[in-house]
């Protein structure tokens, strides 16, 4: 009988299995060591917006553990809101608070999407205003570098009007175009419009 350790096919299988097994074990350990929880990801997004960690409470979080708050807000014609957080300003005497939205706009270039974090400042007697927008991610967009700060600053206003990137002569909507990246700008406008629609309660 042949010595099994001299069979090439057996040696090949054993070597591959050994490499796969050791790699798998190592990755399992490292995955545990470098695990980033959904809460930590949210903290990171908040830190990007505020420059520091802030306490927040969840209104909607599709990645969260609370089943009651897992349902996203979907607007078929513009996009969806996957996360909404309430950020209390404990040091504010006027009882102002912020709402943070993770919103995704549809109908970008090649039907792709753009996901933004939108900070809305709310106060008791005034209309909510968009205060800051940060790009979270995008899909299929190729000219995102054209969507600079000046474009996002175009949304920093009262939330009574919707936005459009293509000039459709719609006076109901504020025109916020980007030359050469109209489809990407449309997806970004749709993402912001989702927030406005939610804030308006429509």
């Amino acid at each position: 009988m042949n010595n099994p350790f001299k069979l090439v096919w057996l040696k090949c299988i054993i070597v591959l299995l050994l490499i796969a097994g050791i790699s798998g074990g190592l990755l399992a350990i490292l995955n545990d060591v470098f695990y980033v929880s959904p809460e930590e990801r949210t903290h990171r997004a908040i830190q990007k917006i505020y420059g520091e960690k802030k306490e927040y409470s969840v209104i909607i979080d599709v990645d969260g553990t609370d089943e009651d708050k897992k349902q996203p807000v979907i607007y078929e014609d513009m996009g969806r809101i996957d996360k909404i957080y309430y950020v209390d300003k404990t040091d504010d005497a006027d009882k102002n608070f912020d709402m943070l939205f993770k919103t995704t706009g549809y109908f970008g270039y090649k039907n792709g999407t753009i996901t933004l974090w939108v900070k809305v400042v709310c106060s008791e007697n005034e209309q909510p205003t968009i205060d800051k927008i940060i790009l979270e991610s995008f899909d299929k967009q190729t000219l995102m570098s054209k969507l600079g700060n000046s474009f996002y600053e175009g949304f920093y206003d009262v939330t009574d009007n919707y936005y459009q990137a293509k000039d459709k002569k719609d006076e109901e909507k504020t025109y916020n175009p980007v030359s050469g990246a109209t489809y990407s700008a449309t997806a970004a406008c749709n993402a912001v419009n989702c927030v406005i629609k939610f804030v308006k309660g429509e």
Binding site: V15, L27, S137, T142
Partner: protein, 224 residues
């Protein structure tokens, strides 16, 4: 055989530069060089994978049967790419986000597989580590230079710091990436060609000096 580490370094950085000379790993080169920071990030990620996969492949080169060497190399490379992904997501989330899809695609980056197959599987651990380091640095420098060029012209900034409002949007686009790549390959060929010519001239000059000094008569078909 004595290993020539200087040659390994010069090969990785210049004479066999993976980006400008061998034209390998073009996918991340074209897609990620919109910003210099992306170039550095991608380059260092590839360097990490190159060094450690080369070390491990060199260590296991006598154990891995020839018939399954490619699947084994891919398994090893994939392991280190996953480690880089975990590390970046944990420690540098901004860079992790900006590299996006191209980070897992390092697994199929032909630079890494080429070095594993052509160098690490035939040389000792130290030489393989050096080869990984210098090939990776060559790739990093190339991506950073292209990223800086495109960022300055396409966004009017460098490493995210705004320089001026003047921008040529073409350089941020895909076609701008190809154009930039062509410019850099042409410049690299021109400069390296000039350096090689200068070295040849210098060598010929020395030979001529020796000829004159020693009055050496070369065999030239019996004419001299």
């Amino acid at each position: 055989m004595k290993t020539d580490y200087k040659k390994i370094a010069v090969d990785g950085l210049i004479t066999s530069n993976p980006t400008f000379k061998l034209v390998l790993g073009t996918c991340p080169t074209l897609a990620l060089t919109t910003m210099a920071m992306n170039g550095i990030g991608m380059g260092l990620a590839v360097t990490f994978v190159l060094i450690f996969s080369n070390i491990l492949i060199s260590l296991l080169r006598k154990v891995i049967p020839n018939q399954v060497r490619i699947p084994a190399f891919v398994l090893i490379i994939a392991t280190f790419v996953t480690i880089v992904r975990l590390l970046l997501d944990y420690a540098m989330p901004d860079l992790y986000d900006s590299l996006g899809l191209y980070l897992p695609l390092i697994v199929v980056n032909c630079i890494i597989l080429a070095r594993a197959e052509s160098f690490a599987s035939k040389h000792n651990v130290l030489a393989s580590a050096c080869d990984g380091l210098f090939t990776g640095l060559g790739f990093t420098v190339a991506l950073t230079l292209m990223g800086a060029f495109r960022e300055i012209l396409g966004s009017g900034a460098i490493f995210g710091v705004k320089l001026w409002d003047f921008q040529i949007a073409f350089f941020s686009s895909s076609s701008g990436a190809f154009f930039t790549y062509a410019i850099f390959i042409a410049m690299f060929s021109l400069i390296s060609g000039a350096v090689i010519d200068a070295k040849k001239r210098k060598a010929y000059g020395k030979i001529n000096e020796l000829k004159q000094e020693n009055a050496v008569v070369f065999d030239n078909g019996g004419n001299e």
